[in-house]
């Protein structure tokens, strides 16, 4: 598999089109909202979550950007609803380990991440790491907001 095909795995290209969770949560229904922007390339996302006790009840987002950031948002929209807030944070951590610390993640991280493990190849493209992380960073902030309010 060439470096490029590792970056753009079919599952990523599919998610970039599927856009799970896009527009799935209105501002009224959300308990926290976060706008994140990658100033270098202009990718942006507005991500919202709704909480039900210890669980993330729903995730919705609007945004624009490259296929990496859009696919990443789609995976958040697909996989995060229903997780406990704690498990959601664990996935953020695992994403960060996989993308930022060059090989310090392990198979357990990949298992945990599910579809998001397809981003493993992004670590080799430092300029794209921010794109893949963008929705996760937004997610982390919304989780922090609700925790702060607990």
């Amino acid at each position: 598999m060439s470096g490029l095909d590792e970056l753009y795995q079919q599952i990523i290209l599919d998610h970039a089109k599927a856009r799970h969770g896009e527009g799935a949560l209105s501002a009224d229904a959300a308990h926290a909202e976060r706008f994140e922007r990658n100033p270098t390339c202009g990718d942006e996302i507005r991500l919202r979550i709704a909480i039900d006790g210890a669980h993330v009840d729903a995730v919705g987002w609007e945004g624009q950007g490259c296929s990496i950031s859009q696919a990443s948002a789609s995976i958040v929209g697909q996989d995060v609803p229903g997780l406990t807030r704690e498990d959601a944070q664990l996935r953020v951590d695992a994403m960060r380990r996989m993308l930022r610390t060059r090989g310090e993640h392990d198979d357990a991280d990949l298992d945990l991440l599910g579809d998001a493990s397809a981003f493993e190849g992004v670590a080799k493209f430092p300029m794209r790491v921010k794109c893949a992380m963008l929705p996760w960073v937004a997610l982390e902030d919304t989780l922090r907001q609700v925790t702060a309010r607990d």
Binding site: C41, F125, C131
Partner: protein, 425 residues
């Protein structure tokens, strides 16, 4: 129309002076099409810097010892060389950190001039107008926003059309009696549009407004004669014209330089300093507070010599042909939108595109995987991109070392983008 260009054997010799062109990227020979962001550096320029650094490092305009004297002479000769390169006199040319710094320097100096007690050349206050265009680089927009905010003046924008193009008529419509400053890019860094300088200067002159030319994308590529263009101020950057980074050039017409206070103060720009205040030297030193990038200025002088040896007319003709090849080729590819002047119209040797259905970052990645280095993003021109209705574009830009084969590799790679991302099938 343009006869003399760079012959194939001359092009080979030129390319041999740029070691970076021999780099491999992702397993492919590098095709460097990002000169619009920064140009590569030829060995003769690096040699000039190194020789100077190893034999003439000393404080200029400050020391009396022999090395300091020799360094000062070399430094001032470099200034003369660079001034001559753009049709200016040496005392009209000051060094800054980059072109952005030079443009800010003009804005900050004009703001300071309003506070007096210095002679006031340009009145700027509520009701007065600063004009620039919707297609500007942030470096030629934000400093004017800042100047407007600092003085209460209004910033008025010359709008562009759906392709990002503005005309002399658009400029004339924006310039009125209250206009005090008109700032615009000579060549658009996204659109490749060549501005109607003579018409804009005439309109500005008619109302007594200063003209500021952002020459970042022209000084490296076409023979520039600032006196003939008759602008009051101009800015460009060494690193876009084969010179080292860390040197911007601020051109101020003599009368303007003499009237403006400095934006920064410190050593080497004063005559007398007391605890209460300071008297400034005349230009160019007035605008050069502190120790300058002497080695780099000498490097820039070597770069202008290199460019002159090839010949600016030959360079312009070479890039003109490459620019036409670019847009003509792009016009044949499905799902491509060309920003700026359309095929058949005059443009600089660069082109920015939108690939329908594929984000520019993904386009860039696909190009990079084939060794083609192009620029993706908003190119420091967010308002223009907003007007074009896109977040980002992909730009290929050329220089004297660019080959037709490299342009063709870009075209080839672009042809494959939509298929790779499964768009438009």
């Amino acid at each position: 129309m343009q006869h003399q260009t760079i012959a194939p054997d001359a092009l080979d010799r030129i390319r041999a002076d740029f070691p970076e062109l021999a780099e491999q990227v992702q397993g492919h020979a590098l095709a460097y099409l990002d000169t619009g962001a920064t140009a590569l550096r030829p060995t003769p320029v690096l040699d000039a810097e190194r020789v100077f650094a190893q034999t003439r490092t000393a404080a200029v305009h400050r020391g009396a010892h022999t090395l300091a004297a020799l360094a000062t002479v070399a430094y001032e000769e470099a200034r003369e060389r660079i001034a001559a390169f753009v049709g200016a006199d040496a005392d009209e040319v000051s060094w800054t950190q980059n072109a952005t710094d030079a443009l800010n320097m003009i804005g900050l100096s004009l703001a300071r001039a309003q506070r007096g007690p210095h002679e006031q050349l340009v009145d700027l206050g509520p009701g007065d107008v600063i004009v620039t265009t919707e297609a500007e680089h942030h470096a030629n927009l934000l400093p004017w926003q800042d100047l407007a905010a600092a003085t209460g003046a209004t910033l008025r924008i010359i709008p562009v059309d759906d392709d990002g193009v503005w005309t002399a008529d658009d400029a004339r419509a924006a310039i009125d009696e209250r206009t005090r400053v008109v700032a615009f890019a000579h060549v658009g860094n996204v659109t490749g549009l060549v501005a109607p300088v003579a018409e804009v200067v005439a309109a500005a002159r008619a109302v007594g407004a200063l003209t500021v030319l952002d020459a970042c994308q022209s000084a490296p590529h076409i023979a520039l004669d600032l006196h003939a263009l008759d602008v009051d101020a101009a800015a460009f950057s060494s690193h876009k014209m084969l010179g080292p980074g860390g040197v911007g050039v601020l051109y101020l017409r003599r009368a303007l330089g003499l009237a403006l206070p400095p934006a920064r103060t410190g050593g080497s720009m004063i005559t007398t300093v007391t605890l209460e205040g300071a008297e400034w030297m005349p230009p160019p030193q007035r605008f050069e507070a502190g120790t300058q990038a002497v080695t780099q200025v000498v490097g820039l002088a070597a770069a202008t010599e290199y460019l002159d040896a090839v010949g600016l007319d030959a360079i312009a003709a070479h890039e003109h042909a490459l620019g036409q090849r670019l847009v003509d080729g792009l016009a044949t590819i499905d799902g491509i939108r060309i920003v700026g002047p359309q095929p058949g119209q005059e443009r600089a040797g660069l082109a920015s595109i939108v690939v329908d259905g594929v984000h520019a970052h993904d386009v860039g990645q696909l190009l990079d995987a084939q060794g083609v280095a192009a620029r993706v993003g908003h190119h420091c021109a967010q308002p223009l991109h907003r007007r074009l209705g896109v977040a980002a574009t992909t730009r290929a830009s050329t220089y004297l070392y660019t080959t037709e084969a490299e342009v063709d590799r870009f075209l080839d790679a672009v042809s494959g983008v939509r298929a790779y991302f499964g768009v438009g099938r």
